[in-house]
């Protein structure tokens, strides 16, 4: 049952770029490891090598003492090593059972043995605590349930080593608790868990040891019990992070409200929401996944139908029907879904940056020089790190993509900007840059709305935080009232 993994001087090159340098460490069976590192530290690449998605360029991977070179992820699965992807690999139109057995179908002669697969799926679902019929189509599940199906799929493959990449990013606290219970049960069964997460409190809670990587190199392996969260963060970044957040500068006492929303109702998502943002103010929005924060703002911009609501921008009432109108009136929105809605990853940095403000570069034809100038300016202003100004957005790291996306929604010079999960999937260093940037925007007299699932971020950054639960705005807390306990209590409704 147990499985011993040994990375021996593993090196990986993508073309001329070395992303892993001589990584060597061991994973003992039946333990829970937290794998820590900033974006680009090489965690994913290393785990892809372990799970058979990529071969190492040099060095070797030893499983139970013998060197292995997996030809494919199937090969690794045969050894009991399963990687649960952060972005799910589920066939949306197939049922849960069909997904669980995809590529490993049980047969009876020429035909598929559906009954047996359904029964096995039911067991696996019970194990992960998902109450759903195995015949349910995956499309009908919510994100958290899909996550559980992925885990059930891994379990049905008799995993001996399970790699989980940000598994709780989409889970509610209750679902997270259930996942943690499952992890300890698996651990008791001798399964090794590699747990990748940006949430250090979770790492602190459930892992036995942490492995830290930085810039493609192994930094350290240490028992979790001996490390504080602060120390973990310092190890990841390689420097002190005592100053994550900029000093909070209060908006001017006579600052006028820029955005005023009353009675906003987005059917199915938000009911009778009202709030206002003043010039120079950072207003946070807290809530669980599915609380309707994103959808409320999409309704505000006209991306979803809204049935009621009065929107006032700078004292003028507006009937916004599209993001285009909103941008024209000085309100822009950055989606939480960077690859799906925020950035054209296949287009160049320049085309991405100027998309919302092309009119400024029409003289009367598009002027590439003026666009390039805007890009150079943005790269300098927003601290976007890139080797090549002509590259595609996909070539940037997550943090730099996010900075580019923020620069893009600021191109039309909005008075109010709504940033939805501005630091999702971003490393600690880039997070700090983004916090200071947000502070700077407020300092310029803009109204900034930050929707975030990271409570520490809301507490450290915002002047006030509105908490939503099930589509209803529960309360708005001032900076003095902000604490994790208070926010969670309002978000979960146990206040």
């Amino acid at each position: 049952m147990s499985l011993h993994v040994d990375f021996a001087a593993v090196t990986k090159d993508f073309g001329a770029v070395r992303v892993l340098h001589d990584v060597s460490f061991e994973l003992a069976p039946g333990r829970v490891y937290g794998l820590l590192g900033e974006n680009g530290a090489g965690k994913s690449t290393l785990m892809k090598i372990l799970a058979g998605y990529e071969p190492p360029s040099e060095g070797e991977l030893r499983i139970d003492g013998t060197a292995r070179r997996f030809a494919s992820s199937r090969d690794a699965e045969r050894d009991g090593i399963v990687l649960i992807h952060q972005e799910f690999n589920l066939a949306e139109d197939l049922s849960i059972a069909q997904n669980i057995f995809l590529g490993h179908e049980r047969r009876r002669g020429w035909l598929l043995d559906d009954a047996s697969m359904r029964e096995a799926s039911r067991q696996a679902l019970r194990q992960v605590g998902l109450q759903a019929d195995p015949d349910t189509r995956v499309r009908e599940l919510i994100v958290a349930e899909k996550q559980l199906v992925e885990i059930a799929k891994a379990l049905s493959r008799r995993a001996r080593l399970l790699i989980m990449d940000e598994p709780t990013a989409t889970l509610t606290p209750a679902e997270t608790e259930r996942l943690f219970a499952l992890i300890s049960q698996l651990k008791a069964d001798g399964v090794t868990i590699v747990y990748i997460s940006h949430k250090l409190d979770e790492v602190e809670r459930i892992t036995d040891e942490v492995v830290v990587m930085r810039d493609g190199r192994f930094v350290t392996r240490a028992p979790t019990a001996g490390l504080s969260r602060q120390q973990m963060a310092n190890l990841m970044v390689g420097r002190e992070l005592s100053d994550m957040f900029p000093p909070r500068l209060p908006p001017a006492p006579d600052a006028k409200p820029l955005l005023k929303v009353q009675g906003l109702t987005v059917p199915g998502w938000a009911a009778d929401v009202g709030f206002e943002v003043r010039a120079g103010e950072i207003l946070g929005f807290a809530g669980l996944v599915g609380a309707g924060r994103t959808e409320m703002f999409e309704g505000l911009l006209g991306l979803r139908p809204r049935s009621a609501g009065r929107i006032e921008l700078n004292g003028r009432e507006l009937r916004l029907r599209s993001p285009r109108e909103a941008a024209r009136h000085g309100l822009t929105y950055l989606s939480e879904d960077r690859k799906g809605k925020g950035l054209h990853v296949r287009l160049s940095l320049r085309d991405n940056l100027t998309l919302m403000d092309l009119d400024r570069h029409l003289h009367p034809l598009l002027d590439p020089k003026s666009e390039d100038e805007a890009l150079r300016q943005a790269v300098a202003d927003f601290g976007i790190r890139t080797r090549d100004l002509g590259s595609r957005a996909a070539a940037l790291s997550g943090g730099n993509q996010q900075k580019l996306a923020i620069a893009k929604v600021l191109q039309p010079q909005p008075q109010v900007v709504v940033l939805d999960e501005p630091t999702r999937g971003v490393d600690v260093g880039a997070k700090r840059d983004i916090y200071f940037l947000i502070q700077r925007l407020a300092g310029q007299g803009r109204g900034v709305v930050v929707i975030s699932s990271e409570l520490i971020e809301l507490i450290g950054l915002c002047h006030r935080v509105a908490v939503m639960r099930a589509g209803v705005l529960q309360t708005t807390l001032s900076a003095e009232q902000l604490s994790e306990e208070e926010l969670i209590a309002h978000a979960t409704g146990v206040h």
């Binding site: 993508f14 680009g40 994913s44 599209s322 054209h344 996909a394 070539a395 997550g398």
Partner: protein, 355 residues
């Protein structure tokens, strides 16, 4: 939890994405660092040109008549119809759409235009004015057809493939009905006035080639140097991102179909004086030739990126193939479509790594 919005299906994830959120900055081998990726892009842009040059060298070696001015003008004139339509098609495909109806549309435009001109010739009096009215009518009707396509695709939320598959049948059936199964022929007097539009030439270059060149030049300008062109590329690359970035997606998409409709109108206006008639076989399979030209020219069928110059070269390349087969006897002329098919598949094969 309330259901997902039905406004637009959200893609399940970009296929090229690495599984981890904490991907390395350089994504993987497919998105190599700056220098080599631009080198790749340049090579791919040069691909159609390279193919055309090789074909021309082969043609010259095989038959001395190939590399003559007359033959070149002949090939380019024949390319003009498909080439002009392909320029419009390029916009539609880059925006992520498709139009299967262009051949049928050309036939119906030709038929309607001839009927109109024959009908009003007596009242209008001047044949020149009659032809001018006919030309304007064909262009406007093309734009109207494009508008209908665009509205069905955007407001009606029907797949463009389905919409234009439907109109493909409708347009051609209507032309067949108007022609009563036979041909609609332009009056002789009008034909005399109109024929220079196809047969005339300026500075030794036939008129259709000038029009083709102008359409291509304007198309390239629109695609690369206007806000509209940028939005077309942004929508094809990722429609959701464009919508969130304050692009009026529906309007831009409708405009691409209208632009294509006008291009079909222009091609029809050049085509009608050539034979002076329209029949149920007019424009047959033009849609496939136009789409093939766009694809051979390096535009991805799934949208997002493409080039007008590539499209023009693609259209010329395909007609050079048939020209060489006509001039030489190595491969039967009957296998023309087969050779073109092989070329299309080779091009697709060479571009497959570009996802």
């Amino acid at each position: 939890m309330p259901p997902e919005s039905t406004r637009a299906p959200r893609p399940a994830g970009t296929p090229a994405d690495p599984p981890g959120g904490s991907a390395p900055a350089w994504g993987g081998p497919a998105l190599g660092p700056g220098a080599s990726s631009t080198w790749r892009v340049k090579l791919q842009a040069a691909g159609p040109w390279l193919g055309l040059v090789l074909l021309c060298i082969a043609g010259t070696l095989l038959n001395g008549d190939f590399a003559t001015w007359d033959n070149a003008m002949n090939v380019l004139t024949r390319t003009a119809f498909i080439g002009i339509i392909a320029v419009g098609m390029c916009f539609v495909i880059i925006s992520g759409g498709i139009d299967l109806s262009v051949g049928s549309m050309a036939a119906l435009l030709a038929g309607s235009m001839i009927l109109l001109m024959n009908g009003i010739a007596a009242q209008v009096g001047s044949p020149l004015l009659t032809v001018a009215i006919g030309i304007v009518f064909a262009l406007v009707l093309g734009a109207v057809f494009g508008l209908v396509h665009g509205l069905l695709v955007t407001k009606g939320r029907i797949e463009p493939f389905i919409v234009t598959l439907g109109t493909l049948g409708i347009f051609r059936a209507y032309l067949t009905y108007l022609a009563n199964g036979g041909a609609i022929t332009l009056d002789g007097k009008l034909s005399d006035v109109y024929s220079p539009v196809y047969y005339g030439s300026l500075l030794g270059v036939p008129f259709p080639i000038w029009v083709f060149a102008a359409v291509a030049a304007v198309g390239a300008l629109i695609l690369n140097r206007t806000g509209y062109g940028r939005y077309v590329q942004a929508i094809g690359s990722n429609e959701q991102v464009a919508r969130y970035a304050a692009v009026n997606v529906d309007r831009i998409k409708v405009l691409t179909y209208m632009l294509l409709g006008v291009c079909v109108g222009i091609a029809t206006v050049l085509y009608v004086p050539r034979l002076g008639s329209a029949s149920p076989t007019t424009g047959l399979l033009w849609e496939l030739e136009a789409i093939a030209a766009v694809i051979v020219g390096g535009t991805a069928l799934k949208g997002g990126e493409g080039r007008i110059t590539g499209t023009v070269v693609g259209a010329v390349l395909l007609s050079v193939i048939s020209n060489i087969l006509n001039l030489t006897s190595i491969i039967s002329v009957y296998l023309n479509a087969a050779v073109q098919g092989v070329v299309i598949i080779i091009v697709a094969f060479l571009q497959r790594g570009r996802r």
